[in-house]
Amino acid sequence: MKLETVIGLEIHAQLKTRSKIFCGCSTAFGAAPNTHTCPICLGMPGVLPVLNRKVVEFAIKLGLATGSTIKPFSQFARKNYFYPDLPKGYQTSQFDLPIIEHGFIEIEADGIEKKIGITRIHMEEDAGKLIHDEHEPVSFVDLNRTGTPLLEIVSEPDMRSSEEAVAYLKKIHLLLRYLDICDGNMQEGSFRCDANISMRPLGQEQLGIRTELKNMNSFRNVQAALEFEIRRQRDLLLDGEKVIQETLLWNPDKNRTESMRGKEDAHDYRYFPCPDLIPVVIDEAWIAEVRKLLPELPDERQKRFVTDFGLPEYDARILTGTRELADYFERALQVCNAPKKLSNWIMTEFLREIKGDVGPWIACCKVVPESLGALIDLLEKGKISGKIAKTVFLVMMETGKAPLDIIKEQNLDQVSDHDELSALVKEIVAAHPSQAEEFKGGKTKLMGFFVGQLMQKTKGKANPQVANELFTKELAG
């Protein structure tokens, strides 16, 4: 029996609004416990929520970026359950009338392009955090995160492998970063993902029994957890056993999924429309306004890099892989007009230096894009050799100085002056008569030897092209 994997993802993206979804408290991460709270997000008696319009704007942005239907009328609903990190005893979310429906994105996995459907995107509030004492049977509640706006993005069960799932996840991550509505930090939990996974005989339409995977806080964990679960389900089914519908937690230390059995009974959340919030009404004018705020999206940008700058697809994809890198490239390009050379440099010398996530790294990188552009410009115009450029770049990385300053300070200017060089060329030819004869006799490979001599004398500063010309002329006679 050939089995097909079916995966759907639920992504929770914390929005980068300055204040919370229903009150004025800050959403900043890392403050002392319970300092970003007020009677509203603490759920005190008699307080009422007021919707932060920025949250709606961010949702519309994502809706537009995923080709979705933005509903003119949507509604908040209460999801009722008791937990100490949920001070009201319900989470204000959306249920049967979400703000966004029927979208899709395009992904590429294993060299194949594919559309993945988005069932719905809805707005909701985040819960707080429980901190359990390691020594005493005591728990503490931190409600700073309570009321932080979230978008829940629910995909169709359109993915057929862990690679596709990760590609989808990365693409959504990229979109959120391009739209600048979520910082995408998986470790801090501002970008979270749960997966629904099942197997069915190839060709069968009906979905198999699914499990839900949680606690995967990096792309690598998602990939590993899905692969583990695919293997586990396949083995079960091939052995004639059944998959049990349950929620599983990924344990990254043991590299396996673990059952949450008992912890999560079948919840009845008793959803009903939230009577404290009026329906969210979005007209065409609002959508048009938000559309104007949309940045160029990764797919469009990648295409433009190919058509406008003549870059290969491969380069364009890497450069547009994060908004920050693409921005960096374009700013550098404004001072050098050598797209391919710049692209080569970024993909090798520049990316080689990167540690951690590209965005934050670029934000604190000492080399501003204009400096890198200037360096490439010097290289392109033959003012310095590739070798010197690499030396200068390393100094730039360390000091943040402009390339010209470094070149002047360290006396690294490339010598292109014909008069200065031709005297040295004559000297070298005269000093090596036998090699000169061999060259004239047709052993043109010796050009390397002559240029090398010149480089030695000039400490690498001679313009290799000029050197070539001068030796060719000198040895022709």
């Binding site: 009677p39 005190m44 008696p45 008699g46 307080v47 009722n80 319900y90 009845d268 008793r270 404290d276």
Partner: protein, 484 residues
């Protein structure tokens, strides 16, 4: 005449002419409370020092500093948050809860110089029709010992009727202002849903709750509405809409006004004495120039059922926050989280609250949602449409508020259903979101007050004030006070 007997209108004249100080007036009310509240039990808490400080502040205010209620002593239902002052909601679970914020309506009263005397007794979380479910004090009807003051804002109504204060704020989810106003012989208004901010009103059923005033005459009620009505950025369900000066609508004469009599409100179960008072009220209005028309609200019979699905459903969610975690009563002996929830809520809530939480939880449960909550919401729309159609034929509906005058304590206590059915005339206004007012219309042979209910289209409070004012003028009962 003692200062505490004055209406707001009379008191303002004396205060503004310096014939009376707010301190004197406030002390007069505080003494009155000290004298009689031992048996009226209208107040859960009285804040004497705070009240006198506010009174002194009012006495010191000059010119523009003097708000429209400057120096007027009022009481506040204990369901409305008062910054720094305990707000119990009549429940053990919030016995020691002191909010760090005030309800918008309380802020507005204080901005206009009102003096807050204390917090009034009420049914626990406003769930009840007699205030008997209050965990602390059960108010008594000032007109007769051993009789209920009504509910859930029974303490507010009793405090105004017994002249312990000049006016009060209550809340009305299914008649909780109008019914006790009727039973205690004072004026009480439930404004249009969205007319008055709910911020700081502890929620019972959010889509039905509305804050409103109690007063001894219609003009005072209009004055109070002038202060509390209006849009509030903190309440998304409050409506951005200009508010009129309600005192301008107190015009003698009813020419050009059509009064509708809904036939469904005069059927079996209605006390003949109540019916007589209401019919007499209609006749008086007719004499004053009004046209009387018969109208129908065909789905009236469904109101009680719809209300007792929607209100408990919302309550089951609204009251989930009383879990013993952040504030309120917590059982400290519980060994596990689930036990802490169970024990805290079992001990903190009274029987009626638990009954309604269970009802509501059931109505929202998967498998029952469509048959109960959803169906009730659909019928609610039909009931609202009944009113829309009726208001095509008339400007105001006249009807009873409650099927009978006040009754003895415990008389309807054993059968919740019988109690629920007594709300039949008042809950439809909450379901439809329209305004309603109860104005004293007469007395029973036993000497118990009987109110007349007027209901109008959304945001037409001014028409209700006009009609109520004319009833007050002609019925001649508004200056009668209970002998205490």
């Amino acid at each position: 005449m003692y200062p505490y007997e004055l209406t707001i209108g009379q008191a303002l004249e004396k205060l503004n002419s310096k014939e009376l100080s707010s301190r004197e007036l406030t002390l007069s009310c505080l003494d009155r409370i000290a004298d009689i509240d031992g048996h009226i039990k209208a107040f859960i808490s009285v804040n004497r020092d705070y009240a006198l400080a506010m009174a002194d502040k009012a006495d010191a205010a000059k010119g523009d500093e003097r708000g429209v209620l400057c120096g007027i002593p009022v009481s506040i239902k204990d369901l409305l948050c008062t910054k720094g002052i305990a707000t119990t909601c009549g429940s053990k679970i919030l016995e020691n809860f002191i909010p760090p914020y005030s309800a918008t309506v309380v802020d507005r009263l204080e901005q206009e110089g009102a003096v807050i005397l204390g917090k009034t007794s009420m049914d626990e979380f406003a769930m009840g029709s007699t205030s008997e479910t209050c965990a602390f004090k059960v108010p008594e009807n000032p007109w007769r010992r051993g009789y209920v003051a009504g509910g859930s804002s029974g303490g507010s109504a009793a405090s105004v009727a017994a002249c312990e204060c000049l006016a009060s704020l209550g809340s009305d989810t299914g008649g909780s202002i109008r019914q006790p106003a009727s039973l205690c012989g004072v004026v009480g208004m439930k404004p249009t849903y969205g007319r008055v901010s709910r911020y700081g009103l502890v929620a019972y059923a959010s889509s039905l709750d509305q804050v409103g005033p109690f007063s001894r005459d219609v003009r005072d009620c209009a004055l109070m509405m002038n202060v509390i009505a209006g849009y509030d950025t903190k309440d998304s369900t409050s409506v951005q809409r200009a508010k009129p000066d309600y005192t301008q609508s107190l015009i003698t004469g009813m020419k050009g006004v059509k009064i509708g009599i809904p036939k469904e409100y005069f059927g079996a179960g209605l006390d003949p004495e109540v019916e007589a008072v209401v019919r007499k009220g209609a006749a008086l209005l007719q004499e004053a120039g009004a046209e009387i028309v018969d109208v129908s609200l065909p789905h009236t019979d469904y109101c009680v059922a719809v209300y007792y699905l929607i209100a408990p459903a919302e309550a089951s969610s609204n009251l989930a926050r009383y879990d013993g975690v952040l504030y309120g009563y917590r059982d400290m002996t519980a060994e596990s989280l689930i036990d802490m929830y169970k024990e805290s809520r079992s001990a903190g809530f009274g029987a009626e609250v638990k009954r309604r939480i269970l009802l509501g939880t059931y109505a929202l449960s998967s498998g029952y949602y469509d048959a109960y909550y959803k169906k009730a919401s659909q019928v609610r729309t039909i009931i609202t449409n009944d009113f829309k159609k009726a208001f095509e034929l008339c400007d105001v509906l006249i009807s009873p508020v409650a099927p009978s005058p006040a009754w003895k304590f415990g008389e309807k206590g054993d059968d919740p259903l019988e109690m629920y059915l007594s709300d039949i005339f008042s809950i439809s206004a909450n379901l439809a979101g329209i305004p309603g007012i109860s104005v004293p219309g007469g007395f029973s042979r036993e000497g118990l007050p009987i109110g007349i209910q007027l209901q109008g289209p959304h945001f037409k409070e001014e028409v209700l004030f006009r009609v109520a004012y004319n009833i007050e003028k002609s019925a001649g009962v508004s200056d009668k006070r209970p002998v205490l």
